[in-house]
């Protein structure tokens, strides 16, 4: 019996060594196994649709020899997913979806990890934002609304999601650009904001086109302006806020990041694959359906973009009193 125990121990050790060796070989021909894409938010949201569409297209068009496995790890404003992926140091088999919260959550001190713990891999698209009112609203243009808000500080209610979200940052940008004070009302999600706007419970709402465009087409809401330099290609009749004298510019990026320190060849493989994906019909259709602006950036460009916005968000969030003094 004793001998059997020793033998099995020996066998176990050998087995482990063999497995380790197999792993080492695997690293040279990336990817050797499925790549996990962690979605930092719950199912059914923008990032979920983004990642699932991409995973399906990459598998269907055989862009990578291995499939992407999509997994939701919602919670803590994305912090749980960010910490999870950052913890997979140097492992190129984990990616995480990166939108505004990828920068704002660490800035607000809600997760111990930050930009330095990640390798930016690629950016795919931008979400545009819009300011809208109920069709029955007395505000016909953004200028009218702002003039009213200037005369009546804190009277105009704006609906949006959690403080620190893109909606709240957009509202802040308007306040800053026009020098007015608005009354920001927080809801649990974009659907509830839209319901409150349609019911006339709030005066204005910040939304992205994906949420707003159907309501706009059916004449239920009026879009006062987009937070962009130029008018949107998909909706050229909607003015920008800038041309109405409100210099509020905002986009949300949609990208992917990997843990810090992944091998260079793996990063290169990923960049190439994602560039190829952005050329597919599936991606173009995804952008068109969701009213996104295509904006591919490779690792270096995306990294620069993130650094730049990290600085901007730090100023904005500090001003909004969301960064705790330490």
């Amino acid at each position: 019996m004793k001998r059997f125990g020793k033998l099995s121990l020996l066998f176990a050790v050998a087995f482990c060594i063999a497995l380790g060796a197999a792993n080492a070989i695997a690293a040279s021909k990336y990817p050797e196994k499925p790549i996990t894409v962690i979605i930092h938010a719950g199912a059914g949201g923008g990032s979920d649709i983004f990642a699932r569409t991409m995973a399906a297209a990459i598998e269907k068009e055989r862009i990578l020899p291995q499939p992407l496995v999509v997994e939701n790890k919602p919670g803590g404003s994305g912090g749980i997913a960010f910490a999870y992926v950052a913890g997979k140091k140097k492992d190129p088999y984990f990616l995480v979806t990166a939108v505004t919260s990828f920068l704002t959550t660490p800035l607000m001190g809600l997760t111990p990890v930050g930009l330095k713990d990640f390798t930016p891999v690629a950016n795919f698209a931008f979400d545009e934002y819009m300011l809208m009112v109920n069709t029955k609203s007395k505000f016909k243009t953004a200028k009218e609304a702002i003039d009213f808000a200037r005369a009546n500080p804190k009277k105009v209610t704006v609906g949006g999601t959690q403080l620190g979200s893109s909606d709240s940052i957009c509202t802040y940008l308007i306040e800053k650009a026009a020098g007015v004070q608005l009354n920001y009302v927080v809801f649990n999600g974009g659907g509830e904001v839209n319901a409150a706007l349609l019911g006339g419970h709030i005066d204005m709402a910040v939304a992205n086109p994906g949420e707003a465009l159907e309501l706009y087409k059916s004449g239920k809401v009026r879009i006062l302006g987009v937070f962009q330099e130029k008018r949107l290609v998909g909706a050229p009749d909607i003015p920008t806020l800038k041309e109405q004298g409100i210099n509020a510019i905002y986009v949300q990026n949609r990208g992917l990041c990997a843990p810090a320190g992944i091998p260079a060849d793996a990063l290169k493989t990923l960049e190439e694959a994602f560039l190829k994906y952005t050329k597919t019909e599936a991606f173009k259709k995804y952008c068109k359906d969701n009213m996104l602006t295509e904006a591919y950036m490779d690792s270096a460009a995306f990294g620069k973009f993130l650094e730049e916005w990290n600085g901007k968000y730090a100023v904005i969030l500090k001003d909004m009193n969301l960064i705790k003094k330490k």
């Binding site: 699932r52 569409t53 399906a56 919670g75 659907g191 319901a195």
Partner: protein
């Protein structure tokens, strides 16, 4: 009216194509499975199964996903009744009387009533959806923050109705539940409350983990106090006792139609959720009952009302989704996402631009409901036999299924710890005679109450008259206040009638 018939005929033409019938069946089958599995509910279920709909047409895809949704509502009651394990969050209410019925040897009628109540209420909801969906759109958005506050505040005052003969302990349980609802990041100010530095607590304590811990895990702990006893005493397993009898039907009739209507109309409101619907239906039934003291001991109305309400709510939730493109909760939000993947964007024009889609879906729901009742009624006999499995085998099964299911909801091991912790809390509460139901419901309702209260006061600049000056919220607030103070009035009244009696 004629128009509706034309539309419905169009819908049935779409829904009865062989592949739509097949996938409707597959959808409700998977839905039943998802519902039976604890923790993982319709939202997670739909989300993880979206990929199987790739390659289907948008209509077939949504027929499948909707089938999963109402199928899960159907299946959720099974484990609640059999082993005190909520299959999904809306079935917590079904558990209160359902499990007691099972323990008293009537698991068959409880399961049968749950299935038939689901069928009846589900069908009522679809009929209402067919007839009045477009006009209901404006009703769904008529509820603003003050109305939500009034509705949820009223719900909160009804929590004491779950307390049985120990009102003080029920109130304490509810207040602790409200405190737990404060845990997490406060969306309005961005402040993290009582998270003790844990990232997983930023989103608050998970409802389903808490419910499984308080009910199912504590039940296990109580049952193993004595070495291996058979928990289900004399479950009568003859064919006749498998189904509700005439008296059961008489008792449940009122509960059924009230539950259906309440579930449908509250379910229509975005953000309210099926759990709130089933709870309000149960509490209303108890208030109206001639024998309220028997609720919680295994009365059939206590199964029929919430189970009807949560299935009707699934139909109600389709109203804002189809008429406005606004999801009313987690499950419909995921369905909206699925539609977008299929390149279809629901909005106010969906009824006119894609009639074959909308009416095909509605017609498929009639068919799916029939499938569900055909599928579930024979299963009742099978489920009841499950109770013959010795408890020592059942116990590890319940534990591991719960743990796996709770992990699967968010892929987070932390949720298992939540379940574990509340398992211990639940055991101590049982021993000390504190009811667990008020705590669980206060957790759900507490978040809605606080959010809508603060939204309303932001809009009104801190003026509380906003709750009284608007018609719907005014009425609901007054009802809530009356119900909150009704015990006091009753005491004063009895003192007035019989002077000299002491307060206690």
């Amino acid at each position: 009216m004629l128009n509706i018939f034309d539309n419905l005929i169009l819908g049935f033409q779409v829904a009865t194509s062989w592949e739509n019938i097949l996938f409707c069946f597959i959808g409700v089958l998977i839905g039943t499975l998802i519902g039976v599995l604890p923790g993982i509910g319709p939202t997670t279920g739909i989300a993880i199964l979206i990929p199987i709909t790739f390659g289907m047409s948008a209509t077939t895809a949504i027929i499948t996903l909707a089938g999963i949704y109402y199928g899960a509502m159907y299946g959720g009651s099974t484990t609640s009744i059999l082993i005190n394990l909520p299959g999904e969050s809306a079935s917590v209410m079904t558990m209160l009387d359902g499990y007691q019925m099972a323990k008293k040897g009537r698991p068959g009628p409880a399961l049968g009533m749950a299935a038939l109540a689901s069928f009846i209420a589900g069908t009522v909801a679809i009929v209402l959806l067919t007839l009045i969906a477009p006009p209901l759109a404006s009703y769904a958005v008529s509820f603003g923050p003050p109305e939500y506050f009034a509705l949820t505040f009223m719900g909160l005052t009804l929590v004491s109705a779950l307390g049985g003969d120990k009102p003080l302990k029920a109130y304490i349980s509810a207040v602790v539940g409200l405190m737990i609802s404060c845990v997490g990041i406060d969306a309005i100010s961005g402040v993290a409350r009582f998270t003790m530095g844990s990232m997983s607590l930023l989103d608050g304590v998970g409802f389903i983990g808490m419910a499984i811990g308080l009910f199912a895990i504590s039940e296990i702990l109580v049952n193993i106090e004595e070495p291996i006893k058979q928990v289900f005493s004399d479950a009568k397993l003859g064919i006749r006792s498998l189904f509700p009898n005439l008296q059961d039907w008489k008792d449940s009739f009122g509960a059924l139609w009230r539950g259906s209507l309440l579930g449908f109309f509250i379910g229509t409101l975005p953000g309210s959720g099926a759990t709130l619907c089933s709870f309000i239906a149960y509490a209303v039934e108890k208030k109206l009952s001639a024998h309220p003291e028997k609720f919680g001991t295994g009365v059939i109305e206590g199964v029929a009302a919430p189970e009807g309400a949560n299935n009707a709510a699934a139909g109600g939730a389709m109203v804002p989704l189809l008429t406005l493109g606004i999801p009313s909760g987690g499950a419909t939000a995921v369905m909206l996402g699925a539609l977008m993947i299929h390149g279809l964007r629901p909005g106010p024009m969906l009824f006119s631009t894609n009639p074959e889609f909308v009416w095909g879906l509605i017609a498929s729901m009639y068919i799916g409901n029939v499938f569900l009742v055909i599928l579930n009624m024979p299963l009742v006999g099978l489920w009841v036999k499950l109770l013959k499995v010795p408890y020592k085998v059942l116990m590890p099964l319940i534990l591991t299924i719960s743990a796996t299911g709770i992990f699967a909801t968010d892929n987070n091991v932390f949720d298992m710890w939540v379940m574990f912790f509340f398992g211990m809390v639940g055991y101590v509460m049982r021993k000390l005679d504190f009811p667990a139901a008020p705590m669980v419901l206060a957790l759900v309702i507490g978040r809605l109450v606080e959010m809508s209260l603060r939204q309303s006061l932001t809009i009104s600049h801190g003026d509380i008259s906003i709750f009284f000056t608007r018609p719907i919220s005014g009425v609901l607030t007054v009802v809530a206040l009356l119900s909150l103070f009704s015990p006091l009035f009753r005491i004063l009244w009895s003192r007035y009638k019989a002077p000299g009696k002491s307060l206690a």
